[in-house]
């Protein structure tokens, strides 16, 4: 018996997987409605994991989260590790000026960037407005991990 054609088999799987991840252009013979449902299911599962890892971002985007993430997921593969924190970071960056982040989401973004930083010392700060004006400083330090502290911003009355 001849060995099975693993190369051709793999190419057909890769073609299907690409179509499911992108949401269209399915290989011949597949039922489009079934493939649509399967692709949506893959993207929804990925979205769910990101929403759980990024609760403030999901809350900030509210009812638009699902549609925005679906569009992102069609264009950008999940990280090979499947890590939803890293996936969400790429998603948050993809939003750009399209959806300026609120305070909680910006704080979440800083903490995620620090957690995903793998080498050396990393320090960033963000000025937050609510519930009171403060400066959030987040650092990732070797051996210590991620540390953060916020400082109230004092308003100094300017001399008249």
């Amino acid at each position: 018996m001849s060995a099975p054609d693993r190369e051709g088999y793999g190419a057909r799987q890769a073609q299907l997987l690409d179509a499911l991840l992108r949401g269209g252009d399915y290989p011949a013979g597949f039922v489009a409605a079934q493939a649509d449902a399967a692709g949506r299911s893959l993207r929804r599962k990925r979205a769910r994991a990101v929403a759980q890892a990024w609760p403030a971002l999901a809350l900030h985007l509210g009812g638009t989260f699902d549609a925005r993430f679906d569009a992102f997921a069609r264009a950008v593969d999940a990280p090979a590790s499947g890590d939803p924190l890293r996936d969400g970071l790429a998603f948050a960056r993809s939003l750009g000026h399209d959806a300026p982040l609120g305070d909680d989401a910006r704080a979440e973004l800083l903490l995620a960037r620090a957690a995903l930083c793998r080498r050396g010392v990393w320090v960033r700060a963000a000025r937050l407005r609510r519930p009171y004006a403060r400066l959030l400083v987040v650092a990732r330090v070797p051996w210590l991990g991620v540390v953060h502290r916020s400082f109230a911003c004092l308003r100094v009355a300017s001399p008249r």
Binding site: P4, R6, R12, Q13, L17, G29, F30, Q34, D77
Partner: protein
């Protein structure tokens, strides 16, 4: 081929998840837990899993990333991890899926079906044999819920799974929710299909919740077990005994009382089916 026979009795079980740790520790009558092997670290066990072992529960590692239905041969490091988890928990067996999860270096993030062809069967058999050689305990294979089907199927699901189990000597992880989902979504009779699965090779049974969305049944593991699946549990146990049955809940975790009620509903369905079998 490495034909293995079932030497264990697992009883009723549940998929261990950190969010369910407290409820599962208090649940009465559980005989085993299933842990997702990829969620276990290289050295330590989660405290809840270690505690369950201490209480005498059996633990079955469940792999989700071997991609046994993929074109590539199973990765040695992933197999070594699955073997290591099995040894650390003293597992009677491990389980994986009849599915592919990656292709051409890209991850799907989920379990995708394989074509039901003789070519796919040959590749699966080779991959399963590689896995069996690397694992210290028997391997059970689970058929998956598939929203999309490959064209050109040369056999139906029960026949395909039966061929695979027979050729590899592996055991069957019968997932009644996946069977229900596929029958609902692809228009065939679940019970007629069930009786043609290799029921004499069952290692244990999975049951999970799901819901219908836009006319399609989704095996979500985030909803209650539907009555149609409980009916299949009863039908199965009316036909044959099985060494264990396990509830999978992976998301939208319910209050403890609801989880306990789900476990009780499954146990009741098993009891009704078993009583019917004994009577006839």
């Amino acid at each position: 081929m490495r034909t293995t026979s079932v030497t264990w009795q697992l009883g009723q079980g549940a998929g261990w998840r950190p969010q369910l740790d407290g409820a599962l520790a208090r649940a009465v009558g559980l005989g085993f837990l299933e842990v997702v092997a990829e969620s276990i670290g290289a050295h330590d066990l989660p405290a809840g899993v270690a505690a369950a072992l201490g209480r005498g529960l059996q633990v079955v590692p469940h792999g989700v990333s071997l991609s046994l239905g993929g074109a590539e041969r199973p990765d040695r490091a992933r197999l070594a991890h699955l073997a290591s988890v099995a040894e650390r928990v003293g597992a009677p067996l491990v389980s994986e899926h009849i599915a592919f999860v990656r292709a051409d270096g890209r991850e799907s993030g989920h379990l995708l079906p394989v074509p039901r062809t003789y070519e796919a069967l040959e590749i699966l058999c080779e991959n399963v044999a590689i896995a069996q050689d690397a694992l210290p305990v028997p391997l059970a294979l689970e058929h998956v819920a598939a929203l999309v089907q490959w064209p050109g199927a040369e056999m139906d699901e029960a026949t395909f799974v039966g061929e695979l189990i027979e050729r590899t000597g592996a055991l069957l992880l019968l997932d009644l929710s996946n069977l229900y989902a596929n029958a609902h979504n692809h228009g065939y009779d679940a019970l007629e299909s069930l009786v043609r699965f290799p029921l004499d090779r069952i290692a244990y049974v999975h049951v999970g919740g799901g819901r219908v969305r836009d006319g399609v049944y989704h095996d979500t593991h985030a909803d209650p077990v539907v009555p149609g699946v409980l009916a299949l549990v009863e039908e199965l146990f009316a036909l044959t005994d099985a060494p264990g049955i396990l509830l999978e809940r992976d998301d939208d975790f319910p209050p403890e009382a609801e989880l306990v009620a789900e476990l009780r509903a499954i146990a009741d369905a098993v009891r009704r089916g078993s009583e019917h079998r004994v009577r006839t």
